[in-house]
């Protein structure tokens, strides 16, 4: 589905490479977490995948293959076909990521306008369906609202609706929950999990919070200063971090949360009849894995909220 090979990005006005040799793959229907502190190159990685790098302002090399098509060097015509259609992107700040003067529904529809020749009525129907898919209470009403009339959580749901309305096979989520409060954050994670299950959409979920990633992703990559320093099953990385930087990230999570997390992981493993998470949870089958992580996400939300 997605393969990134030895990606390097260096901005002309910076001394250091923003991304300095990143490689990872994302399988069909998988959710991969990408964590790392601010400035570690997570967003630049995502922008490279989505074809959003400001090409004139940086040097870049490597391969970014989305279903075999090279996004890093693609021309504008190819990018245009893929963007929004095959790849949906959700950004951190829903308020500024939306055009303040365009109704939410019209922004959700925009992708369809570009990539399909559906009639306006059909587009509207699909947009309202997408708004319903993201569990907005009154989709028809939301369709006619302006961004400033919605709360942050509702806006981020609308952004997700806009990103999935054309049923892309890959969803890039660049810190989609960071700007939201904890309860809303948990709800959005739940929603993403459902969407992933329902549509089999692959997702790259970016966050600087390992604990958030733990609730959503089975596999996680840890980034520091432009390189991936550790990669593996979330449980393994969370409970047995190998790299000092990952250990440092985990130390930042409150002890109370860690105790609860461990308890849940153990319960999960017992329920699923699997080995202790301590010995590594990479081999869990897709089904039970999804169910288990959905469960821990739910409780995680309650606990935080």
């Amino acid at each position: 589905m997605l393969e990134v090979r030895d990606l390097h990005v260096k901005f002309h006005n910076r001394d250091r490479e923003a991304v300095a040799g990143v490689s990872f793959t994302l399988k069909d229907g998988e959710i991969l977490g990408l964590v790392g502190e601010s400035g570690s190159g997570k967003s630049v990685t995502a922008m490279s995948i989505a074809g959003l790098l400001p090409r004139k302002k940086c040097d870049y090399r490597g391969d970014v293959l989305v279903d075999g098509e090279d996004m890093l060097h693609a021309n504008r015509a190819l990018l245009r076909k893929v963007q929004g259609n095959k790849i949906g992107v959700v950004f951190q700040e829903p308020m500024s990521a939306m055009d303040p003067l365009m109704k939410v529904g019209k922004q959700v529809e925009e992708v369809l306008e570009i990539h399909t020749d559906l009639s306006p009525e059909e587009r509207k129907k699909r947009a309202i369906q997408a708004l319903e898919d993201v569990e907005l209470p009154d989709p028809e009403e939301v369709y006619n609202k302006y961004p400033h009339e919605l709360s942050g959580g509702m806006l981020q749901r609308s952004m997700i609706a806009a990103a999935i309305v054309a049923r892309p096979s890959l969803l890039l989520l660049d810190e989609p929950t960071t700007a939201l409060d904890v309860t809303i954050q948990a709800q959005i994670l739940e929603l993403l999990k459902k969407l992933n299950k329902k549509h089999g959409m692959s997702m790259l979920f970016i966050s600087h919070n390992l604990n958030v990633v733990r609730k959503l992703c089975k596999r996680v990559a840890v980034m520091q200063r432009g390189v991936i320093v550790e990669e593996g099953s979330t449980k393994k990385v969370f409970f047995h971090p190998q790299h000092p930087y990952t250990q440092h990230l985990i130390e930042c999570i409150p002890a109370r949360v860690k105790v609860i997390a461990r308890k849940h992981a153990e319960e999960e493993a017992e329920e699923a009849g699997q080995m202790q998470p301590a010995e590594g949870g990479q081999t869990v089958s897709a089904d039970s894995g999804n169910a288990a992580s959905a469960d821990s996400g739910q409780t995680g939300g309650d606990r935080n909220g």
Partner: protein, 316 residues
């Protein structure tokens, strides 16, 4: 709708306030108008009669209210120097200035929108320094100098019009408009330069916003983003600017009318001030203030239609 009603009420109240201040100010500085009209040799009895005729023997507030009521019925008082109703004196001059200002405004809008768009697109290109220099030159050139230059080149050398010989609008409308066109260009040029600079920076600023990246992530190219999102978002500051322009070009017309010898409001205002013809000055000041406030109000009302956030009366 409620917002519009509020704005119009505010316009009305501001006008009442402005008219009161104007009336009070000229009441204080004008001294004794009867003496001014009749001259030093007038007898005390003649002066009394004149004061009575002008209504100056009544209390100040009564005088003000009479004057204000007169405004609504088109009676702006009697000119001291012409001994004629102010309204009949200034209306033909207002027409001339209004036509000139409107021509100027149309030129500004027609030229600055495409030029501004182009300047934004070409930003960072090789000849940007040339554009910027020309722009700054146009912005800095004084209106009177521009007027002299245009009169000389188009009037005296090319003989497209005859400087100093303004055709009466009633008799030769086309000739009058042609004459006014050259004056209007002189008023427009510095303002176009300003508009282009403003548009350029607004568009560039908007292009940097997060929603542009979102739009591109959906498959739009830059031109589509410009058309679908950026232009509309740049409209609010542009309309505000055009509102200010509407107000300011009237000020600019004063100098240009002097140089071109156009019998408009600006020239009449200057003449009336030096003649101490206070009823005329008062009326013109109130009309000018009304024009300025009206321009701002209209711009705000349009903006509020464009940007739903402004309906809350809060954030821009």
């Amino acid at each position: 709708m409620k917002y519009a009603a509020r704005r119009i009420l505010a316009l009305f109240i501001t006008m009442i306030l402005v008219s009161f201040l104007a009336f009070a100010a000229f009441h204080i500085i004008s001294g004794d108008p009867a003496r001014a009209i009749l001259g030093m040799n007038a007898t005390e009895k003649q002066l009394e009669m004149m004061r009575h005729e002008l209504g100056l023997d009544k209390p100040f507030l009564v005088q003000y209210f009479n004057w204000l009521l007169g405004f609504f019925s088109g009676n702006l008082g009697i000119s001291y120097s012409y001994r004629q109703p102010v309204a009949s004196l200034i209306i033909p001059k207002l027409k001339v200035t209004l036509v000139m200002v409107l021509i100027s405004f149309v030129i500004i809008v027609i030229l600055s929108l495409p030029l501004g768009l182009r300047a934004a697109q070409k930003s960072g290109s090789r000849f940007e320094w040339l554009r910027t220099t020309i722009n700054q030159l146009c912005m800095a050139v004084p209106a009177f100098f521009l007027s002299i230059l245009v009169s000389y080149v188009f009037g005296i050398i090319l003989k497209v019009f005859t400087p100093g010989d303004f055709p009466k609008m009633e008799r030769d409308l086309f000739g009058a408009i042609r004459y006014l066109f050259f004056a209007a260009v002189c008023i427009a040029i510095p303002r176009i330069a300003m508009a282009v600079r403003m548009l350029k920076s607004t568009l560039i600023e908007e292009m940097e916003k997060d929603y542009v990246r979102t739009a591109i992530s959906r498959g739009n190219d830059r031109v589509e983003v410009l058309k679908k999102h950026v232009m509309k978002n740049s409209l609010v500051p542009t309309i505000t600017f055009l509102g200010q322009t509407m107000a300011e070009i009237v000020g600019g017309s004063i100098v240009v009318e002097q140089v071109f010898g156009i019998p408009g409001m600006g020239r009449f205002l200057v003449a009336s001030i030096s003649n101490r013809d206070y009823p005329v000055v008062e009326a013109l000041v109130v009309i000018l203030a009304f024009w300025v406030i009206l321009s701002g109000t209209v711009a705000d009302l349009i903006n509020q239609k464009i940007d739903p956030r402004l309906k809350l009366g809060g954030r821009a």
